[in-house]
Symmetry: D3
């Protein structure tokens, strides 16, 4: 069960209305990497963990709930950027005289000449946020990745926190409002903190590579194809030497796939005899130690 | 700020796994009238009310938070319907052996023969809910109606609670599981309670008809067009007599619009002289008493 | 069967091209509360009424057909706003030299500096409307609510007309063109008229509360939860006293749900014994009189 | 303005309920090539033609209106397939006891075991059509192609009619109901008739190749690249000989683009000198006679 | 299997950054008629042809692969328009200092005042293209038409090439950059070439009218309805005379459908006796010669 | 530029038609984690790298191109599962007699009784794949994450490969066809190989934590909130001790945020004095060594 507390998690201050920055900020309200996405992703992932892994369930619900609280902060910031009210101002009128910009003849003229502000603010949402991104595209459940396996979901979350962090970083380029900057700094930093929380959790899992339960098939695994020819094909730890593989494994490199791979035994003699069920063995033990995502000194 | 309490608002019991009912139940998790939509709708509407109408802000956040708690119940129910676990069962394995149906050869065969269960359960979500509806369509921010005017938002919410109620009613036809029935009864009834809460709030607003701030234009207002001809055109309080109009107003009826309306003065002499700004006067006082949405005995 | 008449339902006049207002006006062509949504909603709802309730079928098809005629008006207005032609101007060239703004070097420069006009007008639609909203999001079938029960569909329609009305009201703030203002006034007022038609129809239904056929469960019905704590929790007719309930029923209020509700009998002793089928009784008679949505003096 | 006539354009007969065929038939109600798409496409295209090409405007509105009438037929058919009522049966009850299948214990059991019927029929739409396709995806404004140039729009319409025809053809494979077959035959044949109407209109345009107003650039025009190498590269009238080009033009063929094209003069010496504005000349006269889309004997 | 060559198919030159034109150009990257749509459409259509019609498979894969190469060109052009780099400039820094516009105080100010550039460029994509159209709507698989029948797919492709051509034509109006103009000319012309390739292929099919395998039903075929009455109903080869029908067939015209068609034998006596299976005969032989889409002199 | 080779990267064998497994397999053709998503994601990310980081450009295009080749394999597999043809069978007929299941009366009956197969296969796609997922939802450009910063994009790719791997793992549960199993094993293993390639590339970046260019703000960084109270709040390396932070940093834990955080100096005294620009310092040097994603023994 959720309980709401009327205080925001962190003070939201806005020094002046700025409908265009509100437009950009929608990216963190209803965008693909925004707070609603984060909240819904960790919340949805948590269901299968409730009984099976209560520790992780606790972690996921903690962060999901914090992201909901951030969503509330972002929505408040957008509302203030649209009507120029600070969090501590008093205002009592029943009717919604939103966007003082529009309340005067000048302001109206000005607003119309900036339809570059989200048109939905003018025609539809009446002064509050829209459940969409900066381009006005509605939020989609397809943004949420929840696949029922903690080694998978935690990696999805590392990616999600990463993108949320960079979006705040981009947004900070487009406002000089010190109150907004301070709030964005708080929100951006929390994504870094969550990233580290998920990293620690992934490192705790007894077996976490590869993601999921099935091991890869040795015939196709530490193999790199040069699919993009012409000048500039590059060798590096991602296609030569040991790379991130365990001791004893090395990258094999297929320089010219159309000649060295198509029609060869490598491609076709893929051992129905050696593995008649076509089923790689399930990884039963922890095959590699795994230093993962750690940021140690 | 939100805080999460690990107890569900209402006990969720599931007597046996039923992936097909879980498929239908997705309609209330990520469907157009489901709990996520309701939570996000009232939450989004609340931002403009925070300073301008704190009473309504309190009401909207109360119900938004309860709907989030219902979303958690529905997601839990789906998860249990997929893996056959009751809320009070213990299970400790780290890996996600979801859907015991699939764990045996028979069960697997059976599951495959019912791909009528949401394919996303099999191919993607790994035992938890999907953020989409019963047909697998992702939830969309476009489901949310939030327009910044309480006389509008409250009416949107009456419609939303109405649809949520009927969807639970339809769903109750498709399960015999007593635990599921009991939970659905709780959730369905809460929609009725919310409907009444919003009704009471709308009745409290000093002026609430028409929705918004501008009055209609008298020339086009209590006027009904017979647009659908042929046998069976019907007269009733929606196009004759006083209908729901205040004393002194009556429906005017255009029986044959192509003859009586097109090209007539009614259509063309629409008074640029009488109203040169083309702007109806703003409704400044409460013109009608208004008995609204009440269900009195 | 539909028949089209080449006259518009109401004269559309545009005094000067204004691509930016055309951008905003898209909200009523292909937006969530626009004319296409209204037409498709009432049309889709009508199918189940054709045999079962021919009176309502007639009403729904009348209004659906009028909304289609309004869609035609809005599309005509957008087209004129884009190319600066009045309804009564003659123009004969075969090729589409739309948007005279663009036909000169100056105009082209100017148009490019206002990409804030819908980019789809420039890159895609060639001078006509786009089947999307003001932000360019395509119209979606998900906008339509049609649930097969008239007590539900009528309430959905009251919400829909309400939102359509407020969108016209918002739009009227952003244009000074007297012709456009006059047309918007007609269209906005028609939404008010439809609202009243649907209200009258809902009042005619013998039983209309709660929506649908199943009554609520008394244990969970006139019950309000205080889910949103902190300073400012408010009591009012939505959570104390009789509110909109029939005589003899009163709101019960749960002040602190985590303490007074979780783990209590209220939550858990939900009477499998008293109602073993988990099925609330079907409402067979008209339990309340119902003064609904009326705007009487 | 539209007027609705209560008769259907063509009698719809359904001999027995078949919710699964109703599921498939949704493809023509709210699918990418269905009747709503066709109606909205021709209707949207018509706006720019109203003044500029009144003949075509008349043709487009005729067919748009007929497609709306077909949409009504398809929706009626779906409704009947869901509740087993023929067009000429009488039924008077106010409430919506749709889908008799569900009204008995057996029928309910049976329906649940076929969730392969559109889950939205069970959980949401209450016996009527859904504004989506056979997989439950909502109809999208993105289905509509309307680009403001008749040589373009007419070709889009030829493609659209083609696809609508094949979908009816596919659907006819999945029902044995003679009434449904007869109605589908009518609807399928009308698509053929519309295809021919649009063909005739395209042939009437004085200049119609290439689509639009700008001619292609001779350097890149009758040129075919062999991009897909390996065994089986084929020569034919699409890459050798005259093909559909006017007398005197012939296909040029680039057999090995990576060798014969990249880095050659053909690619790089693209004549900034010969065409400094980078602007191909506008096609001013009708360059080719054009026998188009005709099906003559 | 695909192989990538690091050279672009055609040189992409951009003389100066222009984020607003980049915004418009997105229409050809991720829009409904853009290069990704074309590539995916022909690629998806090709699967059923691989064994059944290897000639066409070769043609479809050739063009699909060329469209992928065009997608790469468009994406490169957008990237350059955003950061002002020409294809032959060198730049070595590891970090992504994209959009020099933003790197200075002035530039930042300027960028913010043009949020009319795609907000996703500022808040999300970090200097590269977005997989969406000019209005920021994500690309959708629904853009792709692939129906498994070559007479259908080829006609869909003629429509698709047509629209892609006109979009390039529109885009060319909004840039004066000679490098961009030259590249657009190449891309636009290639659409014309592909149009002719598909035309030639359609003409090669032994039977190609009507699309698909079933013939139309004679009773409903060469029949035109006047659905759109009022002044200005027009007769032409699309509803009178022979039109594009084979010798011996002529248009029948229903002037007043509500009187001459509804309730008449024409509509109702549709010969269950003459065609008890409701199944038109399958077209077994090539009924018409067919001069199609040819542009001969 | 892309070149296509008519051989598949890996032999695709299908022993018997299985339209239901084809339905599930759509998840990897047009689903959120499928091959099209992967191809488009790496391809889109590559544009900003072309000049700025040619090594990574080469890596990203290599893998993007391989994913395109996998998309071709998955589409071929779906096509074969629908029509029962092995890769090495010959078939020559021009018309598309797809799905032999449907060609006989029995087969047709059977197919209809399994509409649980994707209805789009029956009504729309004519024997080939659909550009959508297993539930028929169209592929969306919103699936693609491309943010212009390699430390971000590489982490997005690790998440993407992870999810693609688990989807293949889930799919392998639902088929016994040895040919299909073998192909799925190849494709699943390639995701593991790509995961390792991206891991190696991320380790090569000189500074890669936090993602992006701005460091977090120390006041809000190694701080964990207990947002989800009730029994079972858990401490672990994600909220106590050093966790993944560098030497000298430790988690700070806020046990009861509503009491210990709201209204405290920690929340409000966030140092406008200490950081008047509200701008955290840009991370200029590599602060931590970073062992990342390696799977070493």
């Amino acid at each position: 069960m959720f309980i709401h507390n009327k205080d925001l998690q962190f003070e939201v201050r806005v020094d002046r209305p700025d409908p265009r920055f509100a437009t950009l900020l929608q990216e963190q309200f209803g965008g693909a990497n925004g707070e609603l996405k984060a909240a819904m992703q960790y919340f949805t992932q948590a269901f299968v963990l409730r009984r099976k892994n209560p520790k992780m369930y606790d972690l996921f619900m903690d962060i999901a709930t914090e992201e909901l609280s951030h969503l509330e902060m972002v929505g408040s910031m957008i509302t203030m950027l649209l009507d120029g009210l600070n969090d501590d101002l008093k205002m009592a009128n029943e009717r919604c005289d939103w966007m003082p910009l529009v309340a005067t003849a000048d302001g109206k003229e000005q607003a119309v000449h900036q339809v570059a502000v989200n048109p939905l603010f003018l025609a539809l949402s009446g002064g509050g946020p829209d459940v969409g991104n900066s381009a006005g595209t509605p939020w989609s459940g397809a943004y949420v990745n929840a696949n029922g396996d903690p080694t998978v979901d935690l990696r999805s979350n590392l990616g999600a926190e990463t993108r949320a962090k960079i979006v705040y970083e981009y947004l900070k380029q487009f406002t000089d409002d010190p109150g907004v900057q301070e709030t964005l700094t708080f929100l951006m930093t929390r994504e870094v903190a969550h990233y580290q929380q998920f990293t620690a959790a992934l490192n705790e899992l007894p077996v976490n590579f590869p993601p999921g339960a099935l091991a890869g098939d040795d015939r196709f695994q530490n193999l790199a194809f040069n699919m993009s020819n012409g000048a500039g094909s590059v060798r590096g730890p991602w296609n030569e030497g040991q790379g991130p593989w365990p001791q004893g494994m090395e990258w094999k490199y297929v320089e010219a796939p159309t000649e060295q791979w198509l029609g060869t035994d490598s491609r076709e003699n893929h051992g129905v005899d050696t593995n008649p069920q076509g089923e790689p063995e399930v990884r039963g033990t922890k095959p590699f130690t795994h230093e993962h995502h750690t940021a140690t000194n």
